[in-house]
Assembly symmetry: C2
Homo-oligomer: 393 residues x 2
Amino acid sequence: MDHIDELLTRGVAEVLVEADLRRKLAGSRPLRLKQGFDPTKPDMHIGHAVGLRKLRKFQDLGHQVVLIVGDWTAQIGDPSGRDETRPRLTADVVRQNAETYMQQFFKVVDRDRTEVRWQSEWFGTFDLEKALNLAGRFTLAQMLAHETFRKRYEEGGKLTILELMYPMLQGYDSVMVTPDVEFGGTDQKFNNLAGRELMDQMSMVPQDILLVPLIPGTDGRKMGKTFNNTVDILMPPFEMYSKVLSMSDDVLPLYFEVLTDVPLAEVAEIRQAIAAGSANPMEFKMRLAREVVAQFHSPADAPAAEAEWIKRFREREIPEDIPEHAISAPASIVDIMVDSKLAASKSEARRLIDGGGVRVDGEKVAGYDLLLSPGKPAVVQVGRRKFVRVRGA
Amino acid sequence: MDHIDELLTRGVAEVLVEADLRRKLAGSRPLRLKQGFDPTKPDMHIGHAVGLRKLRKFQDLGHQVVLIVGDWTAQIGDPSGRDETRPRLTADVVRQNAETYMQQFFKVVDRDRTEVRWQSEWFGTFDLEKALNLAGRFTLAQMLAHETFRKRYEEGGKLTILELMYPMLQGYDSVMVTPDVEFGGTDQKFNNLAGRELMDQMSMVPQDILLVPLIPGTDGRKMGKTFNNTVDILMPPFEMYSKVLSMSDDVLPLYFEVLTDVPLAEVAEIRQAIAAGSANPMEFKMRLAREVVAQFHSPADAPAAEAEWIKRFREREIPEDIPEHAISAPASIVDIMVDSKLAASKSEARRLIDGGGVRVDGEKVAGYDLLLSPGKPAVVQVGRRKFVRVRGA
């Protein structure tokens, strides 16, 4: 597979207009790659990294990223895919969010080949004349071609004129920074096309558009906070490693494709092996988890996180042959420890709990008032080696 | 009929909210009467005067007019009732139009009780933040409740986001000048309601709205340049007088009601007399024409215009017994004049035409190439006394 082919297809959902972009790439001039973001929510997850990795691949070929900090559009909030008008953010919150965003952005993207531009550079002095001029360049019919807008309007949801202006403001950024190609998730297609349209109206060479897919979360559902299925870029190495391991087998090959540099032929083998059941997926997951940690932290962090995970995993392993302790009514953890000889006295039991050395089913016990009940068997562990299985009498 | 009743009904299409406006009128505080205009087309006709007369009646009770010069909205052009996006006007044209407009406005409205405010006072320093804030206060559903917008959108006409912003800009004027009541034609209801809505959103006492009817032109169709049926406020006395006389009988009673102070009881009598055919409408038309000229010029101009009209009318009267001239094919005015002995030669005929002394059916002949045809009898007149009736052979 040709290098440019892989650049334009691996982890890429759509390119508009591909022939034009290929022509631009064939030239000797470094291209300007626009990536905008709205600092509305500062937390990025590895889903966002798919696009950042793509930017980085372009940078490695000598191209230049232009990062637009959407400090104005953030105050509106991108309506794309949203059922409701967002509450507007204050300038202060936006600034803080932007800082956090960039801290994450530059874990993947090369800061030296990035030009950072804040929208306030042009929108801070934008007057009504200019705003009206912009609003006169788009028709309502064009805006209602946006599925988000059309659905919201047709289903009677609140859709303000302000929100209709979002795509044109984002599009105007392109007029200001003259990109060769704008990068975005597939949900940004409409906004990116507005930029293309505006550049065209103003007799500029219109930007091409490279859209990356929105990947599913670790459980296969849409990646997002709601489902607790994200791997966040700012997670510490061990947490990140464990979170990647928690992924369902289904998403494993896709993650390899869009989040690593593992050759595509090898990714195909992994896909096949999992489908055929000829390999233990855990082995691949651990490899992926190492790749991810190495990327967002450092190569040295990967084996360290893995070693820590293995150690903790082993610690939590329960021997098969352990003493049992029967209870006939709910009893406190302290009473159970004394009755089952895990502690010599209630005060020793409390000391052990305070010291963090007591676990129930692998989870640390945080207080004395935990009750265990006869209907729900559980394993109580003190330190590394002492176990008791609690069950109904 | 009570004085306030007549104020709120004669020449009034609708009052919103009438009870509130009556309460305001019952107080001792002079009310602020907002009248906005877009200096897009400077020519006003007597249809516009219906509203100006109403403002004047309020002024005569001690109230204050606030005239908004829509130098910003004019650049957009009111989309109300328009099938197409208007071309945008330059600031210079807008300023010139505004001057011409005010020259006409103050023929009816008392300049001493008028505060003139230009939109540029607030929109000249309006920034994007404010524009977005305004755009966030209205939903698309609200805007598409405007028949003009809805029809244009549903029928696939061009409707820009800029046009959707027109009503809010006009509405914002009200926030700036805090009127008690806004005046407008019935086609302004949507825009005026936007002002009411905005004032309400900003916790101000919302303006009431007084809408005046759009009256038909002299021929009974919609008054407008297209139909050549307007009586323009800047017409000289004689032209204005003649134009009023050209009106159809149908509109006569309405004109008396909305354009004169003739008591309503008398207007009812006129309406009845015309309906019953018991009076010659021409007598009433002459009275109306005098009233109109006196209003827009001066009381002395009215009889002068009438005297001039009578003189010219008599001049153009055609004697009953005039020579006939038969033609069997279309012939030029020059040939006909020679053949019928109205001129001694073609060159004399041409001289007479150049001198402006030749008329066909009362209309001055402008060039030599006018053709008369056998199928359409016509009276050719040279000077005051020489006539020939041309007919088919």
